[in-house]
């Protein structure tokens, strides 16, 4: 596999908060249109990794990043417009965040920020994204009510709809199922299987079985390092290369 074929290429990425290094020089590639599952115990650097990719890490004071992350062969730390980069990447945080705007405005926020103001275009995007996030039927009659008044599970789907609204090429999900019920989780997982046709998906999850169900390849991170990255069959199969992987997957630690 050469670098050019990878959608995202990470080389020797190091990240420290103040003096404490939390990612210790990791390198890996993510292929186009695959679902990469990222598993590992808390504090292993998964969320920080995502924040490095879309550069929202910039907003945290006193951080130091070295190494390179290339998206489509372009170093994210040297892109011309960081906003265009972020629009290329959809990001779903663990806890749902409905913005204190109407449901419609929540989804239309990103397109508007990008400079799209034609009502017809916006209507189409809002409907499409809400459908993709399996929320449309529940809210189509009250698009003008506040996004923050939805239930937790609905807000999480609204968050996903918002992450899709700028039509990203890469979708990052950070433990999206923490705050929602199993039924909704299954519905969203179906959505993800559908989305894989159009985009690359990074699925950070604390549920190892979720990675097993969805991911093409799975990466096991531990204490800021990659323990193992291989196809999901190998990681969850009989013979992962590292003993720690097997222990974690089987629930012996973590």
């Amino acid at each position: 596999m050469t670098a050019a074929e990878n959608h995202i290429e990470v080389r020797d990425l190091r990240l420290s908060y103040g003096l404490k290094e939390v990612i210790h020089g990791i390198s890996f590639g993510i292929r186009r249109h695959e679902i990469l599952g990222v598993i590992g115990p808390a504090q292993s650097g998964k969320t920080s990794l995502l924040r490095c990719i879309n550069r929202t890490i910039d907003f945290t004071p006193d951080t130091h990043v070295s190494g390179t992350i290339e998206v489509d062969g372009e170093d994210v730390r040297k892109v011309r417009s960081v906003y265009a980069l972020r629009r290329k990447i959809g990001m779903v945080a663990p806890l749902p965040v409905g913005l204190p705007l109407s449901i419609y405005d929540n989804v239309a926020f990103a397109p508007r920020s990008a400079g799209l103001h034609r009502r017809a275009d916006l209507d189409a995007i809002v409907e499409q994204c809400l459908r993709q996030a399996a929320l449309w039927d529940e809210v189509k009659d009250r698009l003008e009510s506040l996004g923050t008044k939805l239930s937790g599970g609905q807000q999480q789907r609204l968050t996903i709809a918002r992450a899709l609204s700028h039509q990203p090429e890469i979708l990052c999900l950070d433990e999206f199922s923490i705050a929602i019920d199993p039924v909704t989780t299954m519905r969203i997982e179906d959505v993800l299987k559908e989305l894989r046709k159009h985009m690359t998906i990074i699925l950070v999850t604390n549920l190892t079985q979720q990675a097993r169900r969805l991911a093409d390849r799975t990466m096991f991170m531990w204490k800021g390092e990659i323990v193992e990255l291989d196809t999901t069959e190998v990681i969850f199969g009989e013979n992962p290369k590292d003993q720690r992987t097997r222990d974690y997957v089987e629930g012996i630690f973590g």
């Binding site: 629009r87 990103a110 995007i125 609204s165 700028h166 039509q167």
Partner: protein
């Protein structure tokens, strides 16, 4: 369906954003400009006095001879006014600190939700009373009471100014002390109550020691307010430039002196410059007090 990727923000929106952000930065920096400006302008007006042979800074600070308009023997010593400011401020703190602290303890530890809300609103209103109204109260109400109860011939004096200033600085002492008490973790309270102590013991043995830095900051801010207060002390302390021998003596404070004489001092005269120098002194004094208080408050917040 790739409308978003093709979309571009209108040029005016991008430029408008740049302009607004430039404005935001400019206004953000303005506070520094203003503070420097205040110091520079006040200092600039005061500076030429140092070129004057007869003027000495030592005399300015240590002499209590203040004869700015004398024909033959002009003297500029503000020591009496420094003492005046100090006496009024100290008296005010002696009254306001225990009461402010007591009220803060009552607010944060003893009273119910409703009483607290009401009291806080009253305190907010108390803080909003203009200083000239306080001065007026000192001049009319307080001075009458003082004459009646102490038999002193003049009711505008250190006691009057101290009382008025105490009422003025109580709100700030209450609100900062209450913050400090609230910052004491509830686990301390629970631990103490689990041991069976009364709330009085809790306050005395646990809360006050734990919150002492915040309380110190509150007192310092009160002092800052006292030193800088102008109109109220101008009207309530009488106008005598001399070192007081008791709380029933009239005094003049540094601030009141400027307020009373700036109007009569011709621009550019020595008198005028000495008044500006007094301003520099006040600026430095309050700057130091506020700086220390802020350092303490910041330390508490970080914890």
């Amino acid at each position: 369906m790739f409308a978003v990727r093709a979309a571009k923000r209108a040029p005016w929106a991008v430029v408008g954003e740049k302009i607004i952000e430039a404005l935001v930065y400019f206004c953000g920096f303005s506070a520094i400009v203003f503070v420097l400006g205040i110091f520079v302008f006040v200092f600039k007006e005061a500076l030429p006095i140092f070129a004057h042979e007869q003027f000495s800074l030592t005399e300015f600070l240590t002499s209590s001879d203040w004869y700015p308009t004398s024909e033959s023997n002009k003297r500029y010593g503000v020591f009496a006014m420094i003492v005046g400011t100090a006496s009024v401020t100290v008296l005010a703190m002696v009254i306001a600190v225990p009461f402010g602290l007591g009220a803060a303890i009552y607010l944060s530890e003893f009273c119910g939700q409703k009483t607290r809300e009401t009291l806080k609103i009253v305190i907010e209103l108390l803080a909003a009373v203009p200083s000239v109204v306080w001065g007026f109260i000192g001049l009319t109400v307080m001075s009458k009471l003082i004459v009646q109860y102490t038999g002193t011939p003049v009711g505008v004096n250190v006691l009057n100014g101290g009382l008025i200033l105490a009422l003025m600085s109580v709100p700030i002492i209450v609100s900062i002390s209450e913050d400090a008490l609230k910052a004491v973790p509830d686990s301390y309270r629970e631990a103490a109550i689990a041991l069976g102590v009364t709330r009085w013991q809790l306050v005395w043995r646990v809360l006050l020691p734990a919150a002492k830095q915040g309380l110190l900051a509150a007192v310092l801010l009160g002092v800052g307010r006292g030193v800088g207060e102008t109109m109220a002390v101008l009207m309530a302390t009488g106008h005598a430039v001399h070192i007081p021998h008791g709380v029933l003596d009239s005094v003049r404070t540094l601030t009141a002196n400027i307020a009373a004489e700036l109007g009569e001092a011709p621009a550019g005269s020595d008198h005028y410059r000495v008044l500006f120098l007094t301003g520099v002194l006040l600026f430095t004094l309050t700057f130091a007090v506020n700086l220390i208080a802020d350092t303490i408050v910041r330390g508490i917040r970080r914890k």
